[in-house]
C-alpha cells in the first residue's frame, strides 16, 4: 500500500467496487440526527479496505468529522450499522467500546497532547494505561522507539507540549497514537492550519507510517493534493452521503459536476 496504488481501478467507473477486498470498516445505511429533525448523515454506505490508506474529503459541514466520530464509537448512529474490524459498534456497551478503542490510534487536528505531561510522558501514557505488565524501563524504551520512528530528537523528550513547535506536536501525537501498535490509524484533519512546509512534512510522515506499520489508515482532510498523493482510496462526502469513492484516478475522470468543481478549486488553491 502507500505509494504503490491499489490495482484493479477502472478510472471511468464512478463507484469503485471494494467488495472483493477485505473490509476493515463497513458503514451500512448510517443515518444521524442530533436534534431529531435534521439529518447530518443520510444513509451513508462506505467500505474501507483493510491495510489501505483512505482519505475522506468534502466541503465543510458534509459530515466528515461526524462519520469519523461514529467509526471511533464517540457517536452512535440514529439508524444503520457500523462494523469495525468485524465487530458491530452499535451492539457494544460503553465498557466494551472503551476496550475496543485500544485497537485504534488517532492523531487529532491539534495533536491533543496532555499539556501537563512532557513529550515522553505523553507517549508513555497509553502504555502505562494498557500494558501494566511492562516495567517502567520497558515503557520508556517503547515510547522512545516510537518517538525515534516519527523523527523527534531526544533533546525534546523532556519538554512540555507548549515548549515545542506545531510540527513536533504532530510528531508526538503520532508517536502516542502508535504506542499500542494500533490496527487502525485515524488522522483528523492532520494538516489544517499548518504552513505548506509543515503540511508536506506531516503528509510524508503519514505515508511513511502507513508503509511501515501496514495498519489501515483513515484520514479526514481538506487537503486534496495530499489526499490524492498519498491515499489509496478517496471518499468524497456531500450532504451526509458518499458522493464518490475510489482510487484518486477516479476523481479526475468523472462526470459528477460537484466533484469536478471541488477538485478543480481544491487543486488550484493548494
Amino acid at each position: 500500500m502507500g505509494t504503490e496504488k491499489t490495482p484493479a481501478a477502472d478510472p471511468k467507473k464512478e463507484t469503485f467496487d471494494v467488495t472483493k477486498l477485505e473490509p476493515a470498516i463497513k458503514i451500512e445505511d448510517v443515518w444521524k440526527t442530533f436534534d431529531g429533525k435534521e439529518y447530518v448523515v443520510k444513509g451513508m454506505n462506505l467500505t474501507i479496505p483493510k491495510g489501505s490508506l483512505t482519505a475522506i474529503i468534502g466541503f465543510s459541514g458534509t459530515g466528515k468529522s461526524v462519520i469519523l466520530k461514529h467509526i471511533l464509537g464517540l457517536y452512535r448512529p440514529t439508524r444503520g450499522r457500523i462494523e469495525v474490524l468485524g465487530q458491530d459498534l452499535a451492539h457494544m456497551d460503553n465498557n466494551e467500546l472503551t476496550k475496543f478503542r485500544r485497537r485504534f490510534g488517532v492523531l487529532f487536528q491539534g495533536a491533543a497532547l496532555f499539556d501537563d505531561m512532557t513529550v515522553l510522558e505523553n507517549v508513555c501514557f497509553p502504555l502505562i494505561e494498557h500494558r501494566p505488565e511492562l516495567s517502567i524501563d520497558e515503557v520508556i524504551q517503547i515510547a522512545t522507539q516510537k518517538l525515534v520512528e516519527v523523527g523527534l530528537e531526544a533533546k525534546h523528550y523532556e519538554k512540555l507540549p507548549s515548549q515545542i513547535s506545531g510540527g513536533m506536536q504532530k510528531r508526538t501525537g503520532l508517536a502516542r497514537s502508535l504506542a499500542l501498535d494500533p490496527e487502525i490509524l485515524f488522522y483528523d484533519e492532520p494538516t489544517t492550519g499548518l504552513d505548506p512546509i509543515l503540511t508536506e512534512m506531516v503528509d510524508n510522515l503519514i505515508l511513511e507510517t502507513h508503509q511501515r506499520t501496514k495498519a489501515t489508515s483513515v484520514m479526514v482532510s481538506h487537503d486534496l493534493q495530499a489526499a490524492f498523493r498519498i491515499a489509496d482510496f478517496v471518499a468524497m462526502l456531500n450532504a451526509g452521503e458518499v458522493l464518490l469513492f475510489g482510487p484518486p484516478d477516479v476523481f479526475f475522470n468523472t462526470d459528477i459536476e460537484l466533484v469536478n468543481k471541488f477538485v478543480a478549486k481544491g487543486m488550484r488553491h493548494q
Binding site: L72, L74, N95, T98, K99, F100, R101, R102, F104, V106, F108, Q109, G110, A112, L113, F114, D115, F125, P126, E129, H130, P132, F186
Partner: protein, 272 residues
C-alpha cells in the same frame, strides 16, 4: 388579546426554563452518580486522588487559615459588641464556637474552595474538552469519568472536612485572641464556657456539611467543565456557571441540611 399573548409567552418561557433546570439537575445527578460508581472499578486511581487532594486540600490551606482567622476576629468583635449591651460577654466564646463550627466554617470553606478549586476544575476540564484531550483519552480506551472526574470528586469530599476543621480551629484562635488578648476577658472563663456548650456532634455536623458541599460543588464544576462546548468562550462560561451554581447551591443546601440534621437529632432523641 395582546396581553393574553404576552402572558402565554411569558408562561411558556418560565415553563421551558423550569424544565431545562430540572433536566440539568437530573443530568448532573446522573453524571455524579455514574462517575462515583465507576471510581470503585479497576483500575483504582489512588495516585490521581492524591494528586488532586494536594491541589484541592494542600494548596487551599493558607487561604482557608487566613479567612478563618479574620472571620473569627470579626465575628467575635460583633458578638462582643452585642453581648456587652446585655452584659453577657462571657458567652462570646461559645456563641462564636457554635456559629463557626455549625455554619460559618463549612459554608465559608465551601464557598472559598468552590471558587478556587471548583473553578480550576471546570476550567481545566473545559480546556481539555475544547482541545480534544478528553476525546483523545476516550479513543485511547481510557474511561474518562474514572480517570478525570471520580478522583476530583473523591479528593474534594475527603479534603473539605479537613479544611473546615482547619478553618474552625484558626477561627477559634482568632476569637480567643480578640476576646482574651485584645478585649481582656478572662481566658479561663472563655475556654470553660466554650467547653460547656460546644459538643463533638456540633463539630461533626459542620464537617458532614462540608463533605456534602464538596460533593455538590465538585460534581457541578466537573459536569460544567466536562460538557464544555464552543472554544475559549465556552471554557469561560463553563467556569463561571460552575462557580456561581456551586456557590448558590452551597448556601441553599446549608439551610436544608441544617434542618435535616435537626430532624435527625429529634428522631434519635438528642437535644437540638
Amino acid at each position: 388579546m395582546e396581553q393574553t399573548s404576552v402572558f402565554i409567552q411569558a408562561r411558556e418561557r418560565v415553563k421551558s426554563n423550569v424544565i431545562d433546570f430540572v433536566n440539568e439537575i437530573g443530568a448532573m445527578v446522573q453524571f455524579g452518580y455514574s462517575s462515583i460508581k465507576v471510581g470503585f472499578e479497576k483500575p483504582y486511581r489512588y495516585l490521581e486522588i492524591i494528586r488532586h487532594m494536594e491541589f484541592v486540600g494542600n494548596q487551599s490551606v493558607f487561604i482557608i487559615a487566613l479567612t478563618g482567622l479574620f472571620t473569627g476576629l470579626a465575628l467575635s468583635f460583633q458578638v462582643y459588641l452585642g453581648f456587652k449591651m446585655v452584659n453577657a460577654t462571657n458567652l462570646v466564646g461559645p456563641i462564636v464556637a457554635l456559629g463557626i463550627t455549625r455554619e460559618l466554617g463549612p459554608v465559608l470553606t465551601g464557598l472559598i474552595v468552590a471558587a478556587r478549586a471548583g473553578g480550576a476544575m471546570a476550567a481545566r476540564l473545559g480546556t481539555m474538552r475544547v482541545n480534544e484531550q478528553i476525546d483523545a483519552l476516550d479513543v485511547m480506551g481510557v474511561n474518562t469519568r474514572q480517570y478525570l472526574i471520580a478522583p476530583r470528586i473523591w479528593a474534594t469530599v475527603i479534603c473539605m472536612p479537613l479544611l473546615t476543621a482547619i478553618f474552625d480551629f484558626v477561627a477559634m484562635i482568632g476569637s480567643w485572641f480578640l476576646v482574651v488578648k485584645l478585649v481582656d476577658l478572662d481566658e479561663a472563663i472563655f475556654w470553660d464556657k466554650v467547653k460547656s456548650v460546644l459538643e463533638f456532634r456540633h463539630i461533626n455536623e459542620g464537617l458532614f456539611k462540608a463533605a456534602v458541599f464538596g460533593l455538590v460543588f465538585s460534581v457541578v464544576c466537573t459536569y460544567r467543565g466536562f460538557n464544555t462546548t464552543g472554544g475559549a468562550k465556552g471554557v469561560g462560561e463553563a467556569t463561571n456557571r460552575g462557580v456561581v451554581t456551586s456557590m448558590v447551591m452551597i448556601i441553599i443546601l446549608d439551610y436544608f441540611l441544617s434542618n435535616l440534621i435537626r430532624i435527625f437529632y429529634l428522631l434519635i432523641g438528642t437535644k437540638v
